[in-house]
Subunit: 354 residues, 2 copies
DNA sequence: GCGGTTTCTGTAAGCGGTTACAAGCCCGCG
DNA sequence: CGCGGGCTTGTAACCGCTTACAGAAACCGC
């Protein structure tokens, strides 16, 4: 439109306070085309210094900042990755997010958080299309088939600690091995009757941990009874109470996560049961809190933050690969297994009944 | 383009695996215009049932899901809010995010996380324009002027627990009152020489808490010395060590947050100092961990999750208001103050030196 | 059966950018 | 001085969706 050249005086129309200047405003004020403004801002192509300066001045004057949404639409790249988590309870997710953020911000990516509350939310997954470049999904309680059905087609995806998805990269925790190590350790310390507080039955990690615990117990020839918990402190408390009341015979408790272990630990202490002398306790995850409780909790340690970082790193690489050769479908890389290690602390030290 | 009507047979072009169908594909397959498809999907306007069915069938067949980015561009509404946090360390932010998510997901909003690492990141704030409808900003260590300069103009904003910004809604914690209550409580318990482990000097909350502590100490006529910490456990440990070594005379420690208090507590215990008999300890925030350490930590409790939820709620309302009357600039509502309450636990109980 | 409504539906102009393509400029060289 | 070619720059066509507007169709009573 060279029609309204009435404004040799730029007439800067920075729009009423509140609205933002667009690339067109900048172009008009600088007296150049929008393409040039775009070029200046994307720093590529050959732009003459003089124009560069003019544009930058105009932009500064108008307080122009590119509109991320518009840019992502035309570039087919949002610069954000979606993080899908089952819940936000406890330190585990705090650590996980911290690791993800570390990696993402290093790569200039944003994190769009989506929480799957109690089954709700799966259907919002598909709606992420066009809002993120990729997805890190952690949904240990979701049926893999249901999950697959709801995944948006476009974005790349990495699955974290849940039932493996075909054709995608899965980052798994060696739950079986970790749990087995913990139970073997308890048995070596003299435990004869171990109670395992498992996670919810529909939780993938919980299933694997339980299986690992059972395998190790039978290998060591010790008794193992399982009580299903929900990963929250309260279910640990309940078991601790029962053990203290002798309603449940046990000289060791292995919980499928730390919060339940801590619940049990606190309950035992409240009832005057000596830990680890009378009952040993071990957990899983090694959240920062584990070493702060008293006595400090033995736990199967996974570097949660590192795991989050890896997931993001893998995803970022997958996104980049896809960008280079968009033809091929999802890049199927070998799954990666995170190997935990047993962190022995006071709740299992010197059980002294061997 | 009615040029390529070669396809009376729909010829469905769902695009190669990986790419997503667009609204045009659906329109073509259903034999209607894109406007109609859009109407069907947005459920408004008058659409005849027959067409509705045709469109839905076509969409299902193609696995069509609207492109969130494109939609947000044309509607000038992203459905996401940006959450700007100083760091992701510890349980505080985990709780905060949990509360924010609760409120946001209830309102159908996504959370785009942005962390301001060590000063870096402020400049990315403006880039959020067009990616979010509003911002919840928590930046207690940032100069308010710097912050104001970097805020994107478009989105609404709520400031959380940081130096108040003019013309925006600020959600503040009564740091002064909370700290004063803690110190008064320590004094009432018999403390004569209190050490306050403050937060970083450039942190707004830290400054207020320190001032509150000092005011209460002088009101109660007890000595208060301040040692600057960094909100991490280690700075508490250091102070605990010094107190235990009598390098620092104190019969009570008040830390500006719980992690430092816990650090001090652990250090004291390690050195065999009886808490609270020899030295009482109190913290601030009342993170979930506070009641789990041994002895359980007295703390100035703020309902962190609720605070996050309120911030999001306020922001959502502001966004809605803005949408109704876009003319007026930022809606300036009265600031809201969150009043903490003292949660007395074992680390200050029965000091017995009154 | 017809004008006047009312109810659908399609066309096309955005939203705010990017970018292929072509036109314009400037330069040196023959 | 004219011309070819390399830099710059502008034009306009997208990206995928919404929506104002106008045209088409259906419905009404007479």
């Amino acid at each position: 439109m060279s029609s309204d050249r009435t404004d040799l005086v730029p007439a800067a129309v920075p729009a009423a306070r509140g609205a933002h200047a667009t690339i067109h405003d900048v172009a008009r004020v600088a007296g150049v085309s929008v393409a040039s403004v775009s070029r200046v801002f994307n720093g590529r192509d050959h732009v003459r210094a003089a124009m560069c300066a003019r544009v930058e001045e105009a932009a500064a004057q108008l307080g122009y900042v590119p509109h991320a949404g518009a840019r992502s639409l035309s570039m087919a790249r949002t610069g954000a990755i979606g993080v899908v988590l089952p819940d936000l309870h406890g330190e585990f997710y705090s650590e996980l997010l911290r690791g993800m953020d570390r990696e993402a911000s290093m790569r200039g990516l944003g994190l769009l958080l989506t929480v799957l509350h109690e089954g709700r939310g799966v259907d919002t997954l598909a709606g992420l299309r066009g809002q993120v470049d990729g997805l890190v999904v952690m949904a240990p309680e979701l049926d893999p088939a249901v999950l697959a059905r709801h995944m948006p087609r476009g974005p790349a995806a990495v699955f974290l600690a849940c039932a493996p998805q075909d054709g995608s990269l899965n980052l798994r925790i060696d739950n079986h091995g970790g749990a087995a190590a913990a139970v073997a350790h308890l048995a070596a310390g003299g435990a004869k009757r171990i109670v395992h507080i498992s996670g919810p039955g529909n939780n993938f990690d919980a299933q694997e941990r339980r299986a690992g615990a059972e395998a190790a117990a039978s290998a060591a020839g010790v008794a193992l009874s399982v009580i299903e918990g929900d990963f929250h402190e309260a279910s640990g408390t309940k078991v601790g109470d029962r053990v203290a009341a002798r309603t449940l015979q046990a000289d060791a408790i292995f919980a499928a996560n730390d919060m339940m272990a801590i619940g049990a630990l606190m309950a035992l202490k409240r009832h005057g049961i000596a830990v680890p002398e009378q009952v040993a306790v071990a957990g899983f995850d090694d959240i920062p809190l584990a070493r702060l409780v008293n006595p400090a909790l033995t736990s199967v340690a996974i570097d949660i933050a590192a795991m989050g970082a890896r997931a993001v790193a893998h995803l970022a690489e997958q996104i980049a690969a896809k960008r280079e050769r968009p033809l091929e479908g999802r890049v199927t890389t070998a799954d990666e297994v995170i190997v935990p290690h047993l962190m022995v602390r006071e709740t299992t030290r010197e059980t002294g009944r061997g």
